[in-house]
Amino acid sequence: MTVLVLLDHEEGQIRQASRSAVQAAATLGTVHALVVGDEAAAGAAAKIAGVEKVLLATDPALAHELAEPVATLLVSLAGDYSHIVAAATATGKNILPRAAALLDVQPIPDVVEIVDADTFVRPIYAGNALATVRSSDGKKVLTVRAANFDPAPADGGTADVATLAPVASPATSQFIAVELSQSERPELDSARVVVSGGRGMQNAENFRLLEPLADRLGAAIGASRAAVDSGFVANELQVGQTGKIVAPELYVALGISGAIQHLAGMKDSKVIVAINKDPEAPIFQVADYGIVGDLFTVLPELESALG
């Protein structure tokens, strides 16, 4: 079996989540990788351990990875593959279901475990249940949760890069602009430590009080939906059912109550710390270590204890 993995890239690099997708795909068969619109990223993809061949699509119509042309491209390539895989990122979730529909396939999103070539485990109901599903489709189209598969090493591969011919696609959608947040911190979905704040942070200014702690721990910063909706931080920091799914070594939740939708995004973290003034807050039910107290008092104490 040969599997095609659509890779997410950023500034000439392959995102770590996509290396996890490669690792997952390698358990199914030989891995070919598809990189859209970035030659440098194709070079990086060729070095990933386990990638046998890289397909590079350079057609200008594919720049910005709009779903319409990329799904068309995937369909044109699909004939050679048993599975089409991507990381469950915004890009993967935007493109793969569209390609699946064109192939008359029911996609399998957010796979957390591959049982065999046809059988996969995926969370449903915000992670309150795990469904094992068997697909009867001839071809499988899946997105995988990066947090559940170790990333394939970025080095060690020596794949050839083949450049693809352009595909015809109607230009009914047009890229206008992108606003990416600049941050020196590790990426939220692959950070070793995540420090998250909720409504308890009160406002945007107070939310920044988490930065020294995050700096000290080399952590990414996350947030609850309430913190994002209240405008304390940008949308891409939301952790949860409909935000980022994270599983760091250490997750520190400050002023977060622990609604199931939030837990859905972080309860697979190795160690969870919760700081909340309400002893009944549900976050304590999943926390390994809890402190009941005012976070504005505990935070400076924590920083000084860390030294």
Binding site: D8, H64, L66, E68, A71, A90, T91, K93, N94, P97, R98, A100, A101, L102, V105, Q106, P107, I108, P109, T119, I124, Y125, A126, N128, A129, L130, T132, V133, R134, P170, T172, S173, Q174, F175, I176, V178, E179, V193, R225, D229, A234, N235, E236, Q241, T242, K267, K270, V271, I272, V273, F284, V286, D288, Y289, G290, I291, V298, L302, S304, L306
Partner: protein, 249 residues
């Protein structure tokens, strides 16, 4: 312009879902059901577009059992003009839902189909993208802003690194994310009015769509429980435990 809004009846988001002892699914008997929260946001957006004069008619659609009528009445109480219930024995998979919606789109010819980004029961996040593919129409998924500009629609999308803006030629498919708007509560007079709005029922079979599932559920299980943690008295004690016991810092 007409807007079609697919709304799904799901277990209410406040309910703590329980897995059935025999592993065949989750407990639904006697459980509170509501409109999928993302679909409320989609309905709200459609109503606002109509209030702004950008849309003329809003048609809510649900695919599922008879009780999905309640969900459609809610959509009409929020401002949808009429509703269509496509009757099936259970809620079909996104591929089948997308095929049913395609048949309705061909009949109704809406300028926009505005879906939720994700149903909070199956968490698929797929139907809108699939419908767009089947219809060969442009898609604006995970929308946090929707602006009609003549023959096109500008959609701001929530992506992993921030926000992306695309312009789609109409007709188009849009899926609503959490921050698109805050849905209104239906007022009592509007709930009363909604009872008189037209609700058409169609048997899925009459649309000629094959709804047979492609995925067989082998089993549904509880996720592994986390073992109980401990409360610590101070930040210093926490740091000590993280260093020497958990060894994560």
């Amino acid at each position: 312009m007409k807007i079609l809004v697919p709304v799904k009846r799901v277990i209410d988001y406040n309910v703590k879902v329980r897995v059935k002892a025999d592993g065949s699914g989750v407990e639904t008997a006697g459980v509170k059901m509501s409109m999928n929260p993302f679909d409320e946001i989609a309905v709200e957006e459609a109503v606002r577009l109509k209030e702004k004069g950008a849309a003329t008619e809003i048609v809510a659609v649900s695919i599922g059992v008879q009780q999905a009528q309640d969900t459609l009445r809610t959509a009409m109480a929020m401002g949808a003009d009429r509703a269509i219930l496509v009757l099936t024995e259970e809620s079909p998979e996104p591929l089948a839902v997308a095929k049913i919606l395609r048949a309705l789109v061909e009949r109704e010819q809406p300028g926009i189909v505005l879906l939720g980004k994700q149903a909070i029961d199956d968490d698929m996040n797929a139907t809108g993208q699939m419908l767009a593919g089947l219809l060969d129409r442009p898609q604006g998924t995970f929308a946090s802003k929707v602006e009609i500009e003549g023959e096109s629609v500008r959609v701001t999308r929530e992506i992993d690194g921030g926000l992306e803006t695309v312009s789609l030629q109409l007709p188009a498919i849009i899926t609503a994310d959490l921050r698109l708007n805050e849905p209104r509560y239906a007022s009592l007079p509007n709930i009363m009015k909604a009872r008189k709005k037209p609700l058409e029922t169609i048997a899925a079979g009459d649309l000629g769509v094959d709804v047979a599932p492609r995925l067989t559920v082998v089993k549904v299980a509880e996720p592994p429980a986390r073992k109980a943690g401990v409360m610590v008295g101070s930040a210093a004690e926490l740091v000590e435990k993280l260093r020497s016991e958990a060894k994560v810092i």
